[in-house]
């Protein structure tokens, strides 16, 4: 693959000076060479997931070349998609992620709007606070949160621990600060004249938000949505702490805790499950990569 691209890309650079162009051509060849190496490094684990998912258990334990499938079979996919347990994990993951995205948007769009446009007492402090919250990792809060929700169960009798919907309360602590933060950046880039004109024409703040900010900042909103979804879908620590019953687990925890039984690793099914678990973010990313990247770069840098 590398030789092919080198040949094609070599002459495309517009060339003016003899020696410089030769330097450039070489630089280009080296770039492609190293990019190929790094791409192989990046793609080995997903490729190996795919390879293994297509193997039968006999072939997995055979001493043949592990990098190739000699007898492809779909038995792992059939086995997983037929098992109610796996579908349950998938359903739980999808429910949690979709509802969390909705909650996140409902909280962070108005908040980002208020913080970026309506300067009020304490708004600067709050914006900084949002940013600081975004820096607090899940591994710092899981123990007190676990204890808090256990206490709520003890005091009110409403059992939240070991129910998948407890995650709907927890995940927004990860998604809301991030989404608010990148949306403050997007809203700040909208020209002030636009909303001032709307206010003078008699629009209320809510109308300004829904009629002007949301349409104009749509790329930012999409980026935030993708982020909220991928963060919720990939979260591992909170569901591991908060849910234990097999019917309450989300996908990552479900695969790790139920498909690995003691020392017996059913690698064919584990890799199939991992691949299916990785599929939704990968599909979203394949179609919306530019939004994803825009969100990534805006989130960590734009003020």
């Amino acid at each position: 693959m590398s030789t092919l691209t080198v040949d094609k890309a070599g002459p495309t650079r517009n060339v003016k000076y003899g020696s410089m162009s030769r330097d450039r051509a070489w630089a280009l060849r080296w770039s492609y060479f190293f990019l190929t190496l790094f791409a192989i490094f990046s793609l080995v684990p997903p490729f190996y997931m795919l390879i293994t998912s297509l193997k039968g258990s006999a072939e997995i334990s055979a001493a043949t070349n592990p990098w190739w499938v000699f007898h492809p079979t779909l038995e792992n996919y059939v086995g997983l998609l037929k098992s109610n347990q796996f579908l349950r994990f998938f359903f739980n993951s999808a429910m949690v992620s979709i509802i969390v995205v909705i909650i996140t948007m409902l909280i962070s769009i108005p908040a980002a709007f208020a913080l970026s446009r309506m300067k009020f007492w304490g708004s600067a402090t709050l914006a900084t606070g949002v940013f600081l919250t975004y820096l607090i990792p899940d591994s710092l809060l899981f123990i007190p949160l676990f204890k808090m929700f256990a206490l709520i169960g003890d005091v009110t009798g409403i059992q939240l621990i070991n129910r998948w919907y407890v995650l709907l309360f927890i995940y927004p602590t990860l998604t809301v600060p991030f989404c608010t933060w990148i949306m403050i950046g997007y809203f700040a880039s909208i020209p002030k004249e636009l909303d001032e004109a709307a206010i003078i024409d008699g629009a209320s703040w809510l109308q300004t938000l829904t009629r002007i900010f949301i349409p104009v900042a749509l790329p930012g909103l999409i980026a935030a949505t993708i982020f909220a979804f991928t963060v919720s879908w990939a979260q591992f620590l909170y569901p591991l702490v908060f849910t234990t019953s097999a019917d309450q687990l989300v996908l990552p925890v479900g695969i790790v805790t139920t498909l690995i039984k003691g020392d017996v690793f059913n690698w064919g099914q584990i890799m199939t499950g991992a691949l299916l678990g990785a599929a939704p973010p990968l599909i979203i990313y394949a179609f919306l990569m530019d939004y994803y990247i825009a969100g990534l770069t805006a989130g960590a840098t734009k003020g």
């Binding site: 190293f34 997903p46 990098w67 991928t230």
Partner: protein, 312 residues
């Protein structure tokens, strides 16, 4: 209400005055509206982030059954345990090594991607960003399988070069190497994309000027690229330091802290002690040790962000 001031009722008064009053009214209502709009966010931060944070400090001062106040007892206990110091050491080795390699690889790869014609960049960027998109719990499982002691695809490949089987996750040194390798694999794309974005914002004229002045490739990087990227490099590195230091999934799935607690970092050990060992106060104390390092990194990031905010 605001609309009314602009509507038919306002006709008797001069239009300009009415408009001004309407605007003033709108401004007066502004702070109330703004407060209501941010209220859910404030409640979320207060009850699910700030309060648990404080509660965590309170928990850390209780005994195991959480009925007696023991002050700094948990911390004294931790200081006397060898495992704790092992965790401190491993957390630092893990976070610093991983971040350095992620930053280096990200920087190099970003340059290569920037180097090739714009037409093909999208394809390469897409392939190189895949590790970042797959949920880490899922991709770590693939790594675990690649590292498998008996059927390891890596060892099979190495054996064909005559290199003996490597105990990827069984031996302390190799296990440390493995968790760092997986973390670098997962995190390098983030650096790559951030650096690529900032590389694109460096004006081409600067390079042309440097080239005319006779600067070689190395000088161009040192005197043009690096100064222009300094802010992004600093902020990305600090942010990644926080995330890597607090990492959980990769270590948990790959080694679960083993062999002999040699690869535990703060998050995984806090989970082991607090949730699995059901000594919640001790677990809370362990995770609190992340706070000073996170706070230092956060202060630096915040300074940088505020500086940027003031400039614009």
């Amino acid at each position: 209400m605001v609309d009314a001031a602009f509507g038919e009722n306002a006709v008797p008064r001069p239009r300009a005055a009415a408009r001004r009053q309407g605007l003033r009214k709108a401004l007066r209502r502004k702070s109330t509206t703004a407060f209501l709009m941010t209220l859910p966010l404030i409640l979320l931060i207060l009850f699910l982030v700030v309060y648990p944070g404080i509660y965590s400090v309170h928990l850390a001062t209780l005994n195991k059954s959480m009925q007696r106040f023991v002050g700094f007892g948990n911390f004294e206990f931790l200081f006397k345990r060898d495992t704790f110091w092992l965790v401190v050491k491993q957390s630092c080795i893990f976070a610093i090594t991983a971040v350095v390699f992620k930053a280096l690889i990200g920087f190099i790869v970003a340059h290569f991607v920037h180097n090739i014609p714009a037409k093909g960049q999208r394809k390469w960027r897409g392939m190189l960003l895949v590790p970042w998109v797959i949920p880490p719990a899922m991709s770590t499982l693939a790594w675990l399988w690649l590292f498998d002691p008996s059927y390891s695809a890596f060892n099979y490949t190495l054996a064909s070069f005559g290199i003996g089987p490597i105990p990827w996750t069984g031996d302390a040194a190799w296990a440390r190497f493995s968790v760092i390798l997986v973390n670098v694999w997962y995190g390098a794309p983030f650096f790559m994309i951030m650096y690529l974005a900032s590389l694109k914002s460096v004006p081409e004229q600067l390079y042309e000027a440097a080239a005319i002045d006779g600067a070689n490739w190395w000088q161009r990087i040192w005197y043009v690229t690096l100064p222009m990227m300094r802010n992004i490099i600093a902020i990305t590195t600090l942010f990644s330091l926080i995330v890597t230091f607090a990492n959980f999934d990769i270590v948990r799935i790959l080694t679960a802290g083993g062999p002999l607690d040699k690869t535990h970092i703060f998050a995984t050990w806090a989970f082991r002690v607090g949730i699995e060992g059901s000594d919640i106060p001790l677990g809370a104390s362990v995770s609190l040790f992340m706070v000073p390092i996170l706070a230092v990194a956060a202060i630096f990031i915040l300074r940088d962000v505020n500086k940027r905010g003031n400039e614009s």
